[in-house]
Amino acid sequence: MGPLAVNEIISENTNLFLAFIIGIGFGFVLESSGFSSSRKLAGVFYGYDMVVLKVFFTGAITAMLGLLLFSLFGWIDLSMVYVNPLYLPSAIAGGVIMGVGFILGGYCPGTSFCGASIGKIDAMIFIIGLFLGVIIFALGYNLWDELYMAGYKGEPKISTALHLSDGFFALLMVIIALAMFWVAELAEKKFPREEY
């Protein structure tokens, strides 16, 4: 059955319409969880507000388990679901540069649009920065395309790389996440502050 668009059960235009609806859900959940506040987001790096860690990992695990269950029930063909390709050097370099952007700007791209949607001027400026960053990447593309294209490893799954079944890896992730949530709750008690 699923993915609906890949199996051509729904038309291209229906798919784009649903993208808009899903986007509304995405923006609504991010904003109502407090992801429209850069100081709340940055809290994850200082322990005073661990909302990013809690929402992010609960979200990843929920979707991960949901996909495995959907696959088990025959509702989705996981081989048709997009798995991000791995180009190891650029994945690390890009991630490090994004980490610098995160600690400087306090937002990531998705959350900055959320912040801007409720009137955060710093988020709007961050978005201008995002466009500049993409334009710089595009203009200088020939300077870093070698790094960008280096070390292609296909679309590996972490479970396969660790020689574990998908289900067992998901169970491990749940346990790791629960441990992190426990630490997160302790950190928030240790570094209390007012709500932003």
Partner: protein
Amino acid sequence: MEEKEIKKTAGTKYLNPYMGGVLLGLVLLAANFVAGRGLGASGAIKSVVVSATTVIAPSAEEKSDFVKEFKQTHHGNPMKTWLVFQMAGVIVGGFLSGAIAGRLKLKIEHSPKITSRKRLILALLGGIFFGFGSQLGRGCTSGAALSGMAVLSLGGFVTMMAIFGTGYVLAYFFRKNWI
């Protein structure tokens, strides 16, 4: 469904983070079920930039390997892509949530230890870094880290650890901007 959750937690300012996480996971699951791909944000910015290049500088378009690379993986109008529609939804959804919770307000949010001007300069710089990094890393916190993790992508886990690892390493030096 989401509205009901808001009412339930009306006493607090924000949704319970674990409830927010479950709802986020369900949205991500829906994206995969419908489109066979996860959520994203930076991809929509890339679409806009490619689209603008096509309009403003069609001659640059043919020369640019960046645009060529985009066109190899995307067909038709660069604005008619899944992530552009999804990000339009994000703006609407964020606005609705903020409106319901009474958080709509034009303001510059920053630590009392820094000025608004410094906050805006840092936000611009941060955006430039994040925008650049999201292209090099083929996706941002949404598309690479969150969505990648949900489909057990090794790349997603690598990018997630690189983003947050770097944040933690640098956090001490930038503490004044946040705490």
